[in-house]
Symmetry: C2
Subunit: 408 residues, 2 copies
């Protein structure tokens, strides 16, 4: 990955950076990998890999293990490389519409500790939410080894996030507009660590691509059903961001010009058919339960007919998305995974009916491979990104002894 900044030349420091980062990326992805595999994957010399691993070991991010018992043919067994026991970690924040989930995530993607708290419906003031989140962060960071460096915080937001500076331009369900949530959380924490913000669907896509149902698939879309509907797009193995970072707003694709009024001001947006409010209305679920629609759907035992039209609408909308982006995989996240389990047939049929044959033949619908943690783990991934871009620099600026610093 890491396309070099276009137009720039490459010097040898950049080579070292890139190779160190790539080794680390592989270890992060596989958890445990042999040096022999690394040479094969990266196409570098044995001795080079040895040196790279040695440097990462001296940085305290990986450990070498004696050859694992698992054998594979003849020859001397290769030394293993795995993540260090007390290695760097990040804090991931999944800001939902009704609650915030915060986790300490180790390099490697394991959720070591997690905490959650409700958010007042309608979001509440941003500084209030920021204070809640800061409290959760303190809690999950508390138990971390003092020697372990904190690399940064990744925050998922259910709304439009400007990529240049992480400003939350619009989060309808939190009733936020132009909120600098990263700064708010940092202020509440009282420390200065790198903070990355991004849209929830984008992060769901990233996580499913790196560690979920989309491993090895370079073109995938994650559709997030989370009151509103949005899409995160991975194309060519890279996040599709768009000029401002707002790409993937598929909730307002036109669907039924004679349909319902959407909160965006138009009529018949896709979201008015497959959004949480629409589905709640279809199955007679009270407004107050809309934010937990996934759970409601999981326990739904009403007439199948009530959801048939919704399934069809989902499939039709997916057809547009498949035509426009030509993904190999579409992951249905949030309550859409629950919905898909109920009306799979209608969705598949509607998709097949409206999508063009060529993009249709290579696409698969699937449930998230990471369950309901896709978005949370995606937040961890963006926080880890600087580490892969330049391990030495990222570890150099990382915060150690975080527990003590946050005590105040």
């Amino acid at each position: 990955m890491t396309a070099q900044r276009r137009g720039l030349g490459t010097n040898q420091e950049a080579v070292r950076r890139h190779n160190l980062g790539t080794v680390l990326r592989h270890v992060h992805g596989a958890g445990q990998i042999s040096r022999a595999q690394l040479t094969a994957l990266m196409g570098l010399n044995r001795s080079t890999i040895a040196d790279l691993v040695l440097e990462l070991e001296s940085l305290g991010v990986v450990e070498q293990t004696v050859p694992s018992g698992v054998r594979s043919g003849a020859g001397r067994p290769s030394a293993g490389v795995r993540l260090a026991g007390v290695g760097p970690y990040v804090v991931a924040v999944d800001l939902g519409v009704d609650r915030a989930v915060v986790a300490r995530v180790a390099l490697g993607g394991e959720v070591v500790e997690r905490a959650a708290a409700p958010i007042p419906v309608g979001g509440g003031e941003a500084w209030q939410v920021g204070s809640t989140v800061a409290g959760l962060i303190r809690r999950v960071v508390e138990g971390a080894p003092a020697a372990a460096p904190l690399l940064g915080v990744g925050i998922s937001v259910p709304g439009l996030v400007r990529r240049s500076d992480g400003l939350v331009r619009l989060a309808p369900n939190l009733e936020w507009q132009d909120v600098s949530f990263g700064a708010i959380v940092l202020a509440a924490l009282g420390v200065d660590v790198p903070v990355q913000l991004a849209n929830d669907a984008d992060l769901g896509a990233l996580a499913e691509h790196r560690r979920g149902a989309g491993v090895g698939i370079d073109d995938l879309i994650y559709i997030s059903g989370n009151v509103g509907v949005g899409a995160g797009v991975i194309t060519g193995g890279v996040r599709l961001e768009g000029a401002g970072g707002y790409a993937g707003e598929v909730g307002h694709l036109p669907f039924a010009p004679e349909g319902r009024l959407c909160h965006c001001g138009n009529i018949g947006c896709w979201e008015t058919e497959v959004g949480a409010h629409a589905i709640a209305a279809a199955i007679g679920c009270p407004e107050s339960d809309v934010v937990t629609l996934g759970d409601v759907l999981d326990e739904y035992a009403g007439p199948h007919r009530a959801l048939g039209a919704t399934g069809k609408a989902l499939g039709y909308g997916l057809a547009s998305i498949v035509n426009a982006f030509n993904p190999r995989l579409v992951v249905l996240g949030g309550y859409l995974s629950s919905l898909y389990a109920l009306v799979r047939h209608e969705v598949d049929d509607a998709l097949a009916e409206r999508a063009l044959p060529a993009p249709l033949e290579s696409v698969t619908l699937s449930l998230p491979g990471l369950g309901s943690d896709s978005v949370l783990l995606g937040a961890a991934e963006i926080a880890l990104e600087p580490l892969f871009a330049d391990p030495v620099a990222a570890l150099g600026t990382a915060l150690v002894d975080v527990g003590a610093r946050l005590a105040g």
Copy 2:
């Protein structure tokens, strides 16, 4: 550009390749550039740039010039680097629905020679078209200096092209399905050169990004109006291809569920509103002139009202595209540029009405900076791509003395 193949390591040969290619890319883009500018742009040392330029000079692709007369401040004037007089070239083919345009294009993007021929309406047999194209290629190559190497052929196709092998999966207006047009042209030519095929809108986007209205803009969309309607997407400076290469098929986004039947089998696709047939019907233009709708529109003097609804439909569709891809620039190509000139106001208004505020605020609509040559020049660009990825290898395998070889 040239993201390294992900997961791979970088060795020093790759560094040299990348740097040579990047220098060449800059010369290709600017036509004439000083070594001092190259050092600034690429962030490399003066001596390194000098060496790179020297190597490119010895490869015969660039020439160094005495400092140009144009001065800029104090200091010793920097030596210029420009394209070699007898440098490498490519053949670009723009396969339209009614005619094929073929050009010999030099490194630097200049069309040195061009030729065109009509194609029977409905496409005709692929081998027939291939033979026509081969004849045009012979004609434009004839005048090339014998010493100049031919790097390859780039072909634009108005349809879905599979990116893995260049197979034309579907070209509705040529009535082709699963045609291996690259192989057909090569067979008709009787020589073996690298051939690249791609969708016309994708190539329009590429050309406008590299040499047209979108220079310096990393997120843009080119909408091609060419009987059907398609989009080519550049995102993050890279072509959005999708899993199979079919990304950008926006012609069949749903628009009016109660609308007209589309040839794809659905009802009310966007294309049924803004496609050439729909516009022709709206202005009372005979079916036979549909393929030259752009010219018809340029001379259109009928009532403005007849096109108002079409303009609105165009704007609404663009809003969906802006929401989904968040481009900074949308270039309206083909007959859409003529249409836009007539109903700019309706289009702008409709776009502003339906697009979300955040992506809307940074987007601009524009006409092609390359006129009607966008697609043709895009075909040249893909044929040049291997040269930038690895100048030494590309020139090593390039064909010289092509005129003589093609004589038979």
